[in-house]
């Protein structure tokens, strides 16, 4: 599902890997649903999500013109300040924030981006990321995974003019594999974590992850952490 909302504030301030809390209209489901921003055009903000339950199902049924309650942007974004070839490694529902990363980097003339997307089956996001990324590689489960792709393009990354920096989002085992691949090659790696969240703004401490600095909040201290912070090797 792709959903676009009009919100000038979020559109102006949203950065890659930041998320927006969506509130259902069902009081039986009081917790906000966090969705990563996938694209911003003028004052329109887009999200791509899968319907995993009745909470997200409600959003799938929205019609153009409906009004919903949201709060955001929340969390700390990827750091893309340094000129680099940002390698956007994503799988599954980790893909949308990296489309936004590609879009963001496309606006920075000192950097470029290389999308490396893994899908279960349908390469659904290639059409979106193609518009922004300098190069797009994608793979589905029938051929391998994102590490297969990274191995394939390793020389290309090494030989490029800009130093590679990995930005990644996706299932935990995938991100750990990506972090390990990066560690071995001494490539900087920022990882945007997913965790079952509470408030989204840092008050409830329900979404944490273990880091070398202790157990930190994914929503407010993250969702982006460096490989070093997470102590992943």
């Amino acid at each position: 599902m792709r959903m676009t909302i009009r919100d000038p504030y979020i559109a102006a301030h949203g950065r890659p890997a930041q998320f927006v809390d969506f509130f259902t209209h069902d009081p039986m489901k009081p917790m906000p649903r966090p969705f990563g921003i996938s694209e911003i055009q003028d004052d329109l903000v887009s999200f791509i999500f899968a319907v995993v339950g009745k909470g997200t199902g409600e959003f799938a049924e929205l019609k153009a013109g409906d009004v919903i309650d949201v709060m955001g942007p929340l969390g700390h974004p990827f750091n893309t300040k340094e000129p680099a070839n940002y390698v956007l490694v994503a799988g599954g529902l980790g893909v949308p924030p990296l489309i936004h990363a590609a879009q963001h980097i496309a606006g920075d003339e000192n950097s470029e981006s290389t999308a490396v997307f893994g899908y279960r089956k349908n390469h659904f996001a290639d059409e979106y990321v193609d518009r922004y990324a300098d190069r797009t590689y994608s793979i589905d489960e029938s051929e391998g995974n994102v590490v297969t792709l990274l191995d394939r393009i390793e020389d290309e990354l090494k030989d490029g003019d800009l130093p590679p920096v990995i930005l990644s989002c996706g299932p935990l085992p995938m991100m750990k594999a990506v972090a390990s691949w990066a560690a071995k090659r001494d490539i900087p790696c920022q990882l945007s974590l997913e965790q079952r969240m509470g408030c989204g703004y840092g008050t409830c401490v329900l979404c944490t992850t273990d880091t070398v600095n202790g157990r930190l909040k994914v929503c407010a201290d993250g969702p982006v952490f460096t490989r070093e912070q997470l102590g992943w090797e």
Partner: protein, 320 residues
């Protein structure tokens, strides 16, 4: 940040320029209004962006322990029908950090601060209370729901003898008004309530969360890694009200802070009629950051039409 709260009434009320009309007094401490935050759902660093927390009746901070606690690993939360289930495990940076960070910051902006105290043994509690005794904290709240080695691993709140021993010990260490926060996971809440009061508690707050869980029907496994957690949110309102009613019936004079499912001034009012002197807003702040302030404003307006209740609260008395 765009903040659109879940409750549409927020948009039509001016929460940020409210003149408080109906104060209360809890165990001798004046509150601007009868609404505070519930411990565990309030982090000053997160909430300060949303509203001026000094406008609340009180700010109850997250439980602090003698040393930093990391809490429980993995998934800590699940959603239930009209509730949240949490298994944080009292993660906190420790009392020393609290004394140089949250507490002075909150006192600097003029907040009425209730410092919540956590421990895994009687010595833990004593160490924290010793340090808070000389602090600018306005009140202490003792969280007796934590598993406690001094009570054989059970929570002290479920063992009236252990509770009495703990509160007797802490009572000697400070003159600050001391609230004991009771767990509802007991057969008869008036038993620990009485034990706490007889041991020297100046007030009681109730209810803490109720043990609950959810299961992921795709995996057949509990959603929360700790398996069970504490249920809070709208769903627990009737249970919290009944516990406040029961404790008020057993102990006519002790100040009571009602907690559980308060997300509107109307529901806060139910607690006041059940016999509470004040309320705390907990889970609602997870769904709507400004919920505590909104509840305070709504209640303040509802009290306009209830001068008898308002007058009792202003004197530190209650409806029942």
């Amino acid at each position: 940040m765009t903040v659109t709260a879940a409750n549409p009434e927020t948009e039509t009320m001016d929460l940020y320029d409210h003149e408080w009309k109906h104060p209360t007094v809890v165990a001798g401490v004046p509150w601007k209004n009868p609404v505070g935050t519930a411990s565990g759902t309030f982090q000053y660093a997160a909430v300060r962006w949303f509203y001026d927390v000094s406008q609340l009746g009180a700010v109850t901070t997250k439980g602090v322990s003698p040393v930093p606690w990391e809490g429980n690993p993995g998934v800590r939360t699940a959603e239930g029908p009209a509730c949240n289930i949490n298994a944080v495990g009292l993660q906190n940076p420790g009392v020393d950090h609290y004394l140089v960070d949250d507490l002075p910051k909150l006192k600097k902006i003029g907040a009425n601060v209730v410092s919540n105290v956590a421990g895994h043994s009687d010595d833990d509690y004593a160490e924290v209370v010793a340090k808070l005794a000389d602090s600018p904290a306005d009140m202490l709240e003792i969280n007796v729901s934590c598993p406690n080695v001094s009570a054989g691993g059970m929570s002290v709140g479920t063992d009236p003898v252990a509770l009495s021993r703990l509160i007797t010990r802490l009572r000697k260490m400070t003159d600050k008004p001391m609230i004991v926060k009771l767990t509802p996971n007991v057969t008869d809440i008036t038993v620990p309530a009485r034990a706490a009061v007889e041991a020297g508690a100046d007030a009681l707050s109730l209810i803490n969360t109720i043990v609950g869980m959810r299961i992921n029907t795709r995996t057949g496994k509990p959603i929360i890694d700790h398996v069970t957690g504490g249920v809070s949110g709208p769903a627990v309102l009737p249970i919290g009200l009944a516990r406040v009613w029961q404790v008020r019936s057993a102990l006519p004079d002790i100040p009571i802070i009602g907690i559980g499912g308060v997300d509107s001034g109307e529901k806060a009012l139910e607690y006041l009629y059940a016999g509470a002197n004040a309320v705390e807003v907990g889970a609602a702040a997870l769904f709507d950051p400004v919920a505590p302030l909104r509840v305070a404003c709504e209640l303040d307006d509802l009290l306009d039409d209830r001068p008898e209740l308002a007058a009792k609260l202003a004197e530190g008395k209650t409806w029942r």
